[in-house]
Symmetry: none
Subunit: 221 residues, 4 copies
DNA sequence: GATGAATGAGGGTTCATTCAT
DNA sequence: CATGAATGAACCCTCATTCAT
């Protein structure tokens, strides 16, 4: 609740367009903001549209003028974020990351971590919502696997293949390596976003530490 | 959904006692079983007591004869599991694990992993419920931090301290090491329990791989 | 609104059983009574469950404990009446009517008219509901055609066939005769139940008149 | 659904004028058309202005620019039709009918039937709406009685009086005769418009049959 | 004149919980 | 101890209607 920016920031980017490319009303924006806050806090099933309307300063009917159902509202929050999240992996953007990427594994991982950390920071609440709801909405799970899972997996496959060929990475199955890498970063992010959200931390150092561990493990020699 | 045992197994251990130490009736047991299934599937807020009653083959009123509120029912499911989960860490049990524990780091980690994997397998649905509900129930989160977090942290602290002193472990802050270790295992478990629940896997080999990575990282040389 | 008995009368016959053959609660009976009144007055779509609950002196939720939906409530009112209406036609009851029936056409028609008039009088509101709702519920229309239409048609076919063979009835197609007969009676009933509900009338004489007209028409000579 | 013309036809006659005698816009016409379709199909209470707007290809607000309330829209549909229906009875038009009318009863009835059949055919949907809504709008019922009932009653009174005096019609009370006549024709029309709308029929013959029955009844000799 | 966003009352329905039996 | 009828608040959603543009 403390270290995240208000959701306004990234929503602003979407302000002018909703998924049908028509202009968003000011009220519609307020609805989305309120919904993000409340879904994140109480979960989808635990939130009521009347509370969302109230927090948004809007009549309850107004919500349903823009979103046919409560679930539509949920999806309209999650989907653009998902698309944006995977965009860099697909589009060979990661621009800052990928241009120099194949040069040095450690630097690549650092840039990657910083980049994704920023994304998570920016979209924290929506990501929280996504992860909270995935267990209860099979379509979300499927979508997630297809979008995030497969696309990211492919990208990382290339990368590890490359470094394996250069002899810089151990010869274990690619999925094992990917899982290990991602787990370590998720562990880092989860610690500071979820478990200890209040506590200040030295991001650079913690990321460097994690990369060291991913690269060389905890064993001395 | 495929590799987990029915919850009956571990519930049987609790059959004879509820939290007031009185015998559980057969109906009460049926209620708990039904609640576990349905909470796991639909989440607490998404489940209805009437559906639970129906699945349990019990009248709606019967649930409230045993549990004052729906939330009481939730807690009565989660709490005993939590206690059992941390028990080995506190009690110096881990019996198979801890007797020989300070001898060899790798073997210790292996025994630990196998042991906890079994626990997760056994209690899968209840753990699922716990993790799903933590974001929405601050008391659960607090309880979790205090019980699981602190106690496990202490135990691992001792262990890493020991191996650090023996010069077998790198000199990074203990919390960093703990997080790295746990993340790696959670990543392993999550992959096979949540992401690919259908897929068969060679547990021994995957655990060994993960330990190798934790110990020596992915970098060659 | 004036000449009909309260619906209680015929509902009483159904009191002890609902369609699952379980006993009806007192409240359930009140709900049906209220629903009949209100549906008849305002139509199905124009009635609100909250008003029904209020008139029945019952909480709104109580309605939905007994009838899954508002429409279920409608059907539970219409169906038993429909069954009862056609019963005499099928079962060779019409007892008072059919025993002596094939003796004399005029007497038969008179007995029939009196008998059905009584039925309509008794079930007036429910019949009103049925007729009002048929245009908006295709299943009702289908059901009506199948139940009422076909069965009554068959019965009348036999009768007219019989009298045609006896040379007492003109040789026009049976459906034409049936339609003519039924229209005349419906016209009679509709006039006194619907158009002029307040006005007293000499039932016997009016029925006799109608039968005279059906038999011999309006032309002199 | 099959034998009726689109409502456009008769609405065209009203195009140039609404009830304040101002020109109807094209949108207004579309609204009326859509409303007729939807009211006929779902009933007044079961229709929503938003659906009407949609089907008319008009904004929701536009409806209320022309008709203060939903009910106004209903009345604006029913009233002109009612006026037109009774017009011939009042105005001594019935032109084709009445010029030669007092000559021969059978021919008169035939011409009358054909004429009104045509009218019903043309205005089927609006008549359907009127009949469906009468039970729920006392003013409509009153209006109907006054307009249709009384006026038609008077006209028929004259006619029957005339033929009674000529000794061609039985000496029963006029209302009884009128009711009998109208019932028989309504029965005929209802059969083919409502009960068996799909089925082809030989109008001329069926009308002739009905008239035969009205004149001479079903009894042989 | 036409729009469509906004309203807020009310719609049908579900729900956790109570209590007489 | 168990039942299930009853509750009434709250739920999601629809509606006729208004009004600034």
């Amino acid at each position: 609740m403390s270290q995240q920016q208000p959701v306004e920031q990234w929503i602003q980017q979407l302000v002018s367009l909703d998924d049908t490319n028509r202009k968003m009303t000011e009220k519609q924006l307020k609805i989305i903001q309120a919904a993000v806050e409340i879904f994140a806090e109480k979960g989808f099933a635990g939130s009521s549209t009347s509370e969302i309307a109230q927090r948004a300063g809007v009549a309850e009917g107004t919500i349903f003028r823009h979103y046919k159902t409560k679930k539509d509202l949920l999806l309209s929050i999650i989907e653009p974020m998902t698309r944006e999240f995977i965009a860099p992996f697909i589009l060979n953007e990661f621009k800052e990351v990928l241009e120099k990427e194949y040069s040095n594994l450690e630097d690549f991982l650092y840039a990657l971590a910083v980049n994704r950390l920023e994304f998570i920071h920016e979209h924290f609440k929506v990501i929280k919502i996504l992860l909270q709801e995935i267990p209860f909405h099979p379509e979300l799970k499927e979508e997630f696997k297809k979008q995030i899972g497969i696309k990211i997996y492919h990208r990382f496959s290339e990368i590890f293949e490359y470094f394996k060929n250069k002899g810089e990475v151990i010869d274990l199955p690619i999925p094992v390596l990917i899982r290990f890498l991602i787990s370590s970063f998720i562990g880092l992010f989860a610690t500071h976003f979820v478990l200890l959200p209040e506590q200040a931390w030295d991001k650079e150092k913690e990321i460097r530490n994690t990369i060291q561990l991913v690269l060389h493990g905890i064993a001395l020699k």
